[in-house]
Amino acid sequence: MARTKDYYEFKPYNVARWTIWGAFALLLLVAPLVFTSSLGHTMLSQMGIAIIVCLSYNMILGQGGMLSFGHAVYSGMGSFLAIHTLNLVSKGGWAIPVSLIPIVGGLSGMLVAVLFGYVTTKKAATPFAMITLGIGELVWASSLMFPEFFGGEGGISSNRVAGPKPLGITFGPQIQLYYLIAFYTFVCTAAMFAFTRTPLGRMLNAVRDNPERVEFVGYDTQKVRYIAFILSAFFAGISGGLAALNFEIVTSEVVSAPRSGAYLLFTFLGGATFFFGPIIGGVLLVLAGVLLSELTKAWLLYLGLIFLFMVMYAPGGIASLIMMNLRVASFGRLKELWVSYLALAFTALVALLGAAAIIEMVYHLQLNAALGPKLQFLGASLDARGVDSWFGAAFVMLTGVALFEVARRHYVHQWDEIQEFIEKEMKRREAL
């Protein structure tokens, strides 16, 4: 499965590209009309924010090969400076329109990166990773030690309804803010995509692949990394600024190590090798954070398992899974697979159901045993002390696993056959 990562590139000015960007814009526009609850709106807003920050992270990870453990420093500092600015605005000090506050965040992130990036990007690979870890820990620790700037435990809060209000847009209602975020998301995504097609963007790839050779074609690798790092921090800062507007409070968690870790994990989960991977990652980041934990107390366990399996079976992230299937589709053979996919999905669901029931019962026993052995699981009522429930869950799980294995074998066989066909076909076309 891993061998099928192939070179993929949007051709300039083609129809597909316009369609994709158009669809993206449309999606941003209509999403809040579909998910209308107030939680839905905040989540959509947060997704926009997460998309920007994951994409900005991937500028250095996926495109520059720089593994950073401290990306939250830049988005977080963007947040802090943005909220301080917002406070100045509401005190009537400055007359910056609220819609430009994210730019302030971006510039602040950039400024911090100019400072820290100078030392971090002198190095690459592991030393780089470790310096970012160190700086991340330092900033995080400082954020609690300097309440004057970081606001201590309570953080800095503000009110986004402030400053000039053109056209009566106050950004008070979440929906107005959502559209501001959506606008930024679209523009930033486009800008970051554009970056990949510029000389610096390309040299950044070259630096990732073979820094030594880059030096021999005239480029200073440190400088390439440094500039890219600063640009990435700019976008991170924008996302931080948007987050400040969205939450109207900024606390030290925004610069924390777990936050940096989440960016790394989800960017990777989305797929670092493709430009659009982090977009998926950003969406998942919010979904996992907000919804998964509402569904189950065992969410951390599920998250851990998902990562484990994703890294093992789809190290290119979700984006790579999509691209592989698109490739199959472009050879007109995807339709043969959908039955298999249905079978896989269904059997996996069954297995998952059983496994989840077991996990939930274990959690119940450990955490809530006192509330009685009964628990509700997806509408069914389970008895955590009853042999029946355990037996039933195990039975469901095992059946699911067994069927899944059957389906999987069949699928793998089919998949291999199609890949073989594609390879032959490509050779044939090449020969033409």
Binding site: R3, Q419, E420, E423
Partner: protein, 240 residues
């Protein structure tokens, strides 16, 4: 000693060897010739269990197909890869140490009748240049030095059969001569050699038999003399 029959090898889906068949006898130097890409290196890797393959490879009567490379090495086969796979961060001396087999494997070999044939001193005697550089990281050695090192490293494992893939690649003419001499010494010490070479002159001058490979199978077997005399084979399968 080594009998190969109907060997097929694959890289993923691509079928590279199509029924290779030949033998290497005890104390023999056999040259395996052929153009680039004809499958010689793949044959070597297949014997060592490093590529997916089917067919029969018998070593002193034991089947090798399906075994792990280290098991095959324990049985007394040595392999010198073509791309100078030295271990760049280890010193020359450490590289040689890794050529030696683990204690258990040595015991196993000893009980099977093998004696340690090669020592560090032999190696350093053979290539004094290596002795000079023995505490240097192998990664900074010159291309030619690396080539010498790979050869010596494999010899440290006291193989009964050594498969050498393009040992003279990148070596100065003088050293090429030296290597050729050493291959003869190997033979005199009872080691069989399967030599994969591009340079016809050398290959033919030291080998007992020559094989020519083309498109994944053996297209010629015979003595060096016959090959020298066979203009057709040379033209068709060796020159471009």
């Amino acid at each position: 000693m080594l009998q190969i029959d109907n060997l097929h090898a694959f890289y993923g889906k691509s079928h590279v060897l199509h029924g290779v068949r030949f033998e290497v006898g005890e104390g023999e130097i056999v040259a395996l010739l052929g153009r680039n890409g004809s499958g010689r290196s793949t044959t070597a890797k297949a014997v060592m269990g490093m590529v997916e393959c089917t067919g029969d490879v018998l070593w002193k009567g034991q089947p090798l197909v399906g075994r792990k490379p280290y098991e095959i090495a324990h049985l007394g086969l040595g392999y010198v890869p073509e791309n100078r796979d030295i271990f760049p961060r280890l010193t020359v001396h450490q590289n040689l140490m890794l050529g030696q087999k683990g204690a258990r494997a040595r015991k196993q070999a000893a009980s099977a009748g093998a004696r340690g044939r090669w020592s560090f001193d032999d190696m350093y005697g053979m290539f004094p240049r290596l002795k000079e550089r023995q505490h240097t990281e192998a990664g900074v050695l010159s291309g030619g030095e690396q080539q010498m090192l790979t050869l010596c490293r494999t010899l440290m494992g006291d193989p009964s059969l050594i498969i050498i893939d393009e040992p003279t690649e990148g070596l100065a003419p003088k050293i090429v001569e030296l290597v050729a001499e050493y291959l003869k010494t190997l033979k005199s010490r009872g080691v069989s050699v399967l030599l994969i070479e591009q340079k016809l002159t050398i290959a033919l001058s030291i080998s007992d038999r020559a094989l020519v490979m083309g498109h994944g199978s053996i297209v010629f077997q015979g003595t060096p003399e016959t090959l020298r005399g066979d203009a057709y084979i040379r033209k068709e399968w060796l020159e471009v």
